[in-house]
Symmetry: D2
Subunit: 246 residues, 4 copies
């Protein structure tokens, strides 16, 4: 059974009444409940817990990690970021949500700024499925419509996705690559744009379905663990060369 850890910064919900009204128990609890109902074994972790809730023991029990952060990216300690990135390289799935585009794990794994345009105007977003045959589009209509969304607009400074599943249309005139698949090391990463602290987007069933699909897609298989470093030849060759500075 796939084990998911739902990570949340969990600050806005405790500090801002508008956010608290939408997510009284935190964004993580809504996502975790949805994943639980979808059949995953879920736990949650938040920034202000010891080690941000992401101890080695917790990660040992994590097949896929989902990440939501916004205002406190800088407070995530580098050693925990190293730990998360290392786990991804070993095969752990990572689902990065909305403002998590600026999180340390995502920017480090992408190697780019992950900058974008944004606007808070409660405008319409329409996510179009570009790859209807991809498992992350399972059970989804040709598009998902969100009445009130924060706008994210291109240029989104990311590496071109290995697979681009969704692209968003915004009422104010922009487009955005809103569902992006990557492989890094043995791990799979999905960036999914929707979700904002002041709009009830994670209560939307289609959005919950996409997140669940992404978790299923990102769950690790039992592929080979690569060996690195000095390697004996597979064929019978002369290895007597001594010109080396090692």
């Amino acid at each position: 059974m796939t084990q998911v850890t739902v990570w949340n910064e969990f600050r806005h919900e405790r500090q801002n009444d508008t956010v608290a009204a939408v997510y009284p128990d935190g964004i993580h609890s809504v996502i975790a409940d949805a994943l639980d109902e979808a059949g995953f074994e879920t736990q949650t972790a938040t920034l202000d817990e010891p080690e941000h809730g992401l101890t080695e023991a917790v990660l040992d029990d994590t097949d896929v990690l989902t990440w939501w952060g916004h205002a406190a990216h800088d407070e995530v300690r580098d050693e925990i970021v190293d730990r998360v990135c290392e786990r991804v390289r070993e095969g752990m799935g990572l689902i990065v949500l909305h403002s998590g585009h600026y999180s340390k794990p995502f920017t480090r794994l992408m190697g780019t700024s992950c900058s974008l345009k944004w606007r808070e105007a409660a405008e319409t977003e329409r996510l179009w499925v570009l790859e209807p045959g991809h498992p992350i589009a399972d059970g989804i209509d040709e598009h998902i419509e969100i009445d009130e969304a924060e706008m994210y607009g291109e240029r989104f400074d990311i590496p071109a996705p290995d697979t681009l599943v969704f692209t968003s249309w915004f009422e104010g005139g922009e487009v955005f690559r809103s569902g992006c698949c990557y492989r890094r090391g043995n791990g799979r990463i999905f960036y999914f744009r929707p979700g904002h602290e002041t709009y009830p987007i994670y209560h939307n069933e289609s959005i919950q379905r996409v997140v669940a699909n992404a978790v299923a897609w990102a769950a690790p298989d039992d592929g080979p663990t690569p060996t690195f470093g000095n390697a004996e030849p597979r064929e019978d060759i002369d290895t007597s060369d001594e010109r080396s500075v090692h």
Copy 2:
């Protein structure tokens, strides 16, 4: 006219007689001479110069930077790495050579470990052209043969290249993605495997041709500089929403 800066760690050549015999004036001088002859305006820079030779002024005159390092990756100062990566994002081309796979700029821009298998046995390498229609294969035969090479073998822990131009065969039984194109920010990056301090590979004309082709391919155009951050709508929409934690 495209301006190229050829960067070299330049330690082995000064410390090891075998290397000095192959590259008496440094690997950088052989590469720079070849690029000069190919019609580029070239300068060189090395680790032990102030700011590693990569001052803002030097980078202002650099369209494409080539990078060779091996034993002293850790001595490259982080602020210079930041500077190089920032320039790549702004459009500067970057050609990463051989053991530069472990350099700070490359690993940071890739977001992965860039680990691989290796072996020094002076064995045959044969680089096969996978994309004969790519500009980096201009003037190259179906394959390039190198009599004596260090082996690099898969798994090469990189993001899947945007375009894979060459794959190498090694006598000892391994394969390797040896010519890899990436876009990061506005910049283009090409990783090219051949080249080792104890073998005269950068004297090989086909290898020189590939490096020159790569420089031409990576030279920046005059595309748009993206604007990031809060953006006014392009369409006439209601922006009166006040639910914000910003």
Copy 3:
């Protein structure tokens, strides 16, 4: 339960004693048995059956089709090829094996010649896993070694794969992209190189495992069926323009 139809030209086995000794009941029966054991519901179909065994009824019961052909590609009737390609576009998975690279369904879906170099010398092939985190590499070691194989060599005239899972090394000096994933329409396609009529490659357990993994990967989900053609606007816009030649 995923339903697989294993298609085979089934001529060599009936006409050539060497082949018959390796595959007495046909290549298809060995593949089908392996897939059956892996938990799939399997049936077989061959060229000389009515409609090549690929009636609409058979395809209605097919989630994934595997394809092996060699000497009689031209005898596959175009209307059956149309049918197969149409099913792929609707979501059916397609696993193309070895000499199937020249089959009508594959070349048509690729849009290229799918030409390559080849040699029959019973030489060693070593398939290296390039993407250890891909589901098709599940349960596979870092490489698969085949003692006696026909060589296929680059340039393989295909579109660059969406994901390249395996690359082969050959004793005679060539490399080959031997495990290639594509999406076409709603369907997923995997080309897998190993397997030859005179060598017992489909009896190899690792090869069987890859084929089974590929079938699992290619099995369709329930994504949206795109609608095409004239479309009403999603937003309230003026549609009174009458400048049309339709």
Copy 4:
């Protein structure tokens, strides 16, 4: 000097007054004039000329072919389509414009239906640059705005582009991958969406600039011509195996 042949169906302009008012000498003449001014050597060819104007002699003098067709795709003879596709595989560039998505050369080279949604409502299109560092975006702003355009909407049934340079926003609520790069054989293909017979889009300077950039990008280099078929080994191996059905 790069030689371009601008192909046009050239029927609407002779049969429909609205179209004739926008393109009195045909869409091809406007495109050819723009390319001529951009420094290319141009000629034109149209459907109703002998061999559709695409004789072997004309193609011998063609580095890049641009293609506009709409109502008479079926009238393009298969032998001419074969000829064009063969030239692309040999290295000729192909720029497919707007309704050319349904042309025989494009659908055959893609291997998919190339279907899409469409609507003629003279609505706003805004093409956003996704890859500002790509040569086809040279000299272009962050977006191109077209006041009156035909809408094309996703799902666009194409293979995922090797590089996606533009994505369009439409006033009526759709998005579309409007600038798509492919490699097929030794040739480069660019699909560019804008341009419609009843709107003066090919008179737009930014659109002309993109077409010129695309021609420059698609012009062939002098890469290797692959050899296919039976191949001698590059290494000294035993080739005495006689188990063959060839």
